[in-house]
Point group: C2
Chain length 364, copies 2
C-alpha cells in the first residue's frame, strides 16, 4: 500500500451507523490495489467516469480493483451539461442490468460533475449504497468531493435535485493534477482561495505568496494547498453537515456564481470560473461596507487574474438579471436572497440585505 | 383541534436533529386546520395527490391549510404505473416554478403510490425538505406511510430508486376508509394480517375472529386494526430504520409479491393483492418445513379469500419465472435471494435456501 502524505478524518454524528470517513491525500493512490482491497473487501463496484478522464486513469483503477471483482463501468460524456437526472438514470439502468446489490459500491472517477452525479446515483440506488470519491480535478479535490453534497442540475436551477450522502472515503491522487488542463486547474484554485477568504487569513496570504509555485504546479505547494483546503472543509462540514448554519459560508461567491452559470448555460463558464467572479463581487460589496480593505480586494483580484480566471461578470448580465435568477436559488429563505460576505479577511458573514445598487457597484 | 383516538411516536436515533415523529389516528384529521397550523407554522406547502383522491379530499385539506399559506397543488393520474422518475420530476418542476424553499413542506394526500413518490420527491428537492403523510387508503395507513421508505419504480424493478426519508408526521384519518373501493380496502387488509403473521399471533387470531366486522368496516374494529398495525411497524422501524436486519421481516410475502407485480405489469395486481398471494406461498413453504401448522395456513388463506384477495399466483407464472425476476430484487445478497418465512405463527425468520421445488409446491 502506498504511503499517503496526509490523511484526515471527517467526523460526523452517528445515525445508527458511524458515518465518519477518511480523506487520504498522496501520490499513486489511483493504482493502489491494496488500499482498494482494504476499503472495498470483495464488494462489487459500479465505476463511473467520463470520456476525458477514463482514457487517462480508468485502466490503472480497473487494474487496482483486481481481476476477480465484478465491475460495471459507466462512461459518460464530459461536461457540466451532463449533470442531469437522465445521466443518473443511465447509471441506475446499467447497475440494475448487472444485478448490483445493496453491498455494491459506486466509485466516482473524475471531477465535480462525476462526483456529484455518482454520489446522487449512489444515494438513491436501492435507497442508498456506499460510494467512494476519486477526484481527479483540483476543484473536486479541494471542494466537491468532501462533505457529502450530491446533486444533479435541473433546467430550473443548479444542484436543485440531490441528497446529503457522505462518501465512504475520498482518495486524492495528486498525480492527476499534472495532466489537468490550465483552465480546469485555475477553476480549482478559485475554490482554494475561497477557504482563505472565509476561514483563514494566513492561508490566504500563503496562497498569494505562493501563486507562482502554484501556477508551476509544484508538488509540495500543491500538496499543502490541497490538504489545508480539505482540513478547513472537513472542519466546517463536521460542525454542520446539512447546512443548518455555519456550512453556508462555503457558498462565498456561489450565489452570484450560480446565477452566472445558469444564465450563460451550464458548462459555458466552469463552476470555479463563476466562483472566482462571484467572490470578487462579494468581496467588493464587503469592502463597500467597510468590512474589507481595498488592498485585500485587489490582492484577491490579482491572484485570480494571474490564473486567467474571470474577475468581471459576463457583459450579458445586468443587476436585474442577477436578482431574477438568484430569486430561484436554494439559498433563498422566506423570499429573501441570502449572501455570504466577508466580515473581515478570514471571517465570513451571512446577510440578506444586499441592494441592487450594491450589486451594480460590484459589477463595475 | 379534533381529538385523536390514538397517537404514537416513531422513535429514531438522532442525527444532528431529532427525527422522531408522531403517527396520529382519528376522525376528521384531514379537515383539522389547527393541527396543520401546529405542524406547519406558516411554511409554504407542495400538496401532491391523484385525480381519484383529490376530488374527494383535496378541498377539505386545502381549506384546513388556510387562505394565506402558499400552496402548490400537483395532481397526478391515479395508478402504480405513475410511480416513476418522471412523476417525481414533474413535482420538482412545479415546486421550482413556484420558487419553493428549503422550509417548504411537501404533503402526500393519497395511497401508497402518492406517499412513496412524494416522499422521494421531498427527499431530493433541494437535497431534502420535510414532508407529511396523509394516507387515504388502508394499505398506506397501516404500512407504506410509516417508516420512511420512499421510492419510485424503475422499468428494471420495483422501488429500485429511492431514499430513507422519514416524514415529519403521519395523520391517519379513518373517515377516508369509508369511501375506499372494496378492492383497495382488501389490499390493505392483506398488510394488516402480515403483522399478525410475523409479530403477534394474538393479533392474527383477533383479525381472523373479526373478519366479518372488518369487511363491514366497523369503525371500532378498523380503528383497532390500524393502531395495532402501526404500533408493530413503528416498533420494528425504531429498532432498524435502514433494514440492516430486523426490518426485513416486514417483507414477509413481498419477495414473491414484487415478482408478481413486475411480471404482470405494475398496476395489474394491486400491491396488497400480490402480497396476499406471496404470504400464502411463504406460509406454505414454512408449513412444508414443519414450522407452521396446516391449520394456520388454511386460516390465513380463508381470511384473505373472504376479502376476495388472490391466494394463488397468476397462471402465467412458473417457478422458473419467479426465480428469474426475484434474482433482480433489492433483497438479493451475494447473489442469493433472501426470503422471509415464518418460524412459527407470530415469529418471522430470514432464509436464503428456498429451492425451486419448494416454490413449485407452494404454487399448487
Amino acid at each position: 500500500m502506498s504511503n499517503p502524505i496526509y490523511s484526515l478524518q471527517v467526523d460526523l454524528p452517528a445515525s445508527g451507523v458511524d458515518r465518519s470517513y477518511p480523506i487520504i491525500i498522496g501520490h499513486g493512490l489511483l493504482a493502489d490495489g491494496e488500499r482498494f482491497t482494504e476499503l472495498l473487501g470483495d464488494a462489487p463496484v459500479v465505476l463511473v467516469s467520463n470520456d476525458t478522464v477514463a482514457p487517462l486513469y480508468l485502466p490503472r483503477v480497473r487494474n487496482a480493483l483486481g481481476k476477480t471483482r465484478k465491475v460495471t463501468e459507466v462512461i459518460l460524456p464530459d461536461g457540466e451539461d451532463q449533470k442531469h437526472l437522465m445521466s443518473a438514470d443511465h447509471i441506475w439502468q446499467q447497475a440494475l442490468k448487472d444485478h448490483h446489490e445493496r453491498r455494491s459500491i459506486f466509485i466516482a472517477l473524475g471531477g465535480g460533475v462525476i462526483g456529484d452525479l455518482t454520489g446522487y446515483a449512489a444515494a438513491c440506488f436501492l435507497r442508498g449504497v456506499d460510494f467512494i470519491q476519486l477526484p481527479t480535478t483540483l476543484l473536486a479535490q479541494v471542494d466537491s468531493s468532501v462533505g457529502g453534497k450530491t446533486a444533479v442540475n435541473h433546467p430550473l436551477g443548479k444542484n436543485m435535485i440531490g441528497a446529503f450522502h457522505q462518501p465512504k472515503a475520498v482518495l486524492i491522487d495528486l498525480d492527476s493534477l499534472l495532466t489537468l488542463p490550465d483552465r480546469e486547474f485555475a477553476a480549482g484554485i478559485a475554490e482554494t482561495i475561497k477557504y482563505g477568504c472565509i476561514w483563514d487569513s494566513d492561508f490566504f496570504n500563503w496562497l498569494v505568496q505562493h501563486s507562482d509555485a502554484l501556477r508551476g504546479r509544484s508538488n509540495d505547494v500543491l500538496a499543502e494547498a490541497v490538504q489545508r483546503s480539505c482540513a478547513i472543509k472537513a472542519g466546517v462540514v463536521s460542525q454542520d453537515e446539512r447546512e443548518g448554519g455555519l456550512r453556508a459560508i462555503l457558498n462565498f461567491g456561489h450565489t452570484f456564481a450560480h446565477a452566472i452559470e445558469q444564465t450563460m448555460g451550464y458548462g459555458a463558464w466552469l463552476h470555479g470560473e463563476a466562483v472566482a467572479c462571484g467572490m470578487v463581487m462579494a468581496a467588493k460589496i464587503s469592502a463597500a461596507r467597510d468590512q474589507l480593505s481595498g488592498e485585500t480586494v485587489a490582492q484577491l483580484e490579482q491572484f485570480l487574474a494571474s490564473f486567467d480566471l474571470p474577475v468581471e461578470p459576463p457583459t450579458e448580465m445586468s443587476p436585474e438579471g442577477f436578482l431574477e435568477v438568484m430569486a430561484g436559488d436554494k439559498k433563498v429563505d422566506r423570499g429573501k436572497i441570502r449572501y455570504i460576505l466577508l466580515q473581515s479577511l478570514g471571517e465570513a458573514c451571512l446577510v440578506d440585505d444586499v441592494t441592487i445598487e450594491e450589486i451594480a457597484q460590484a459589477m463595475e
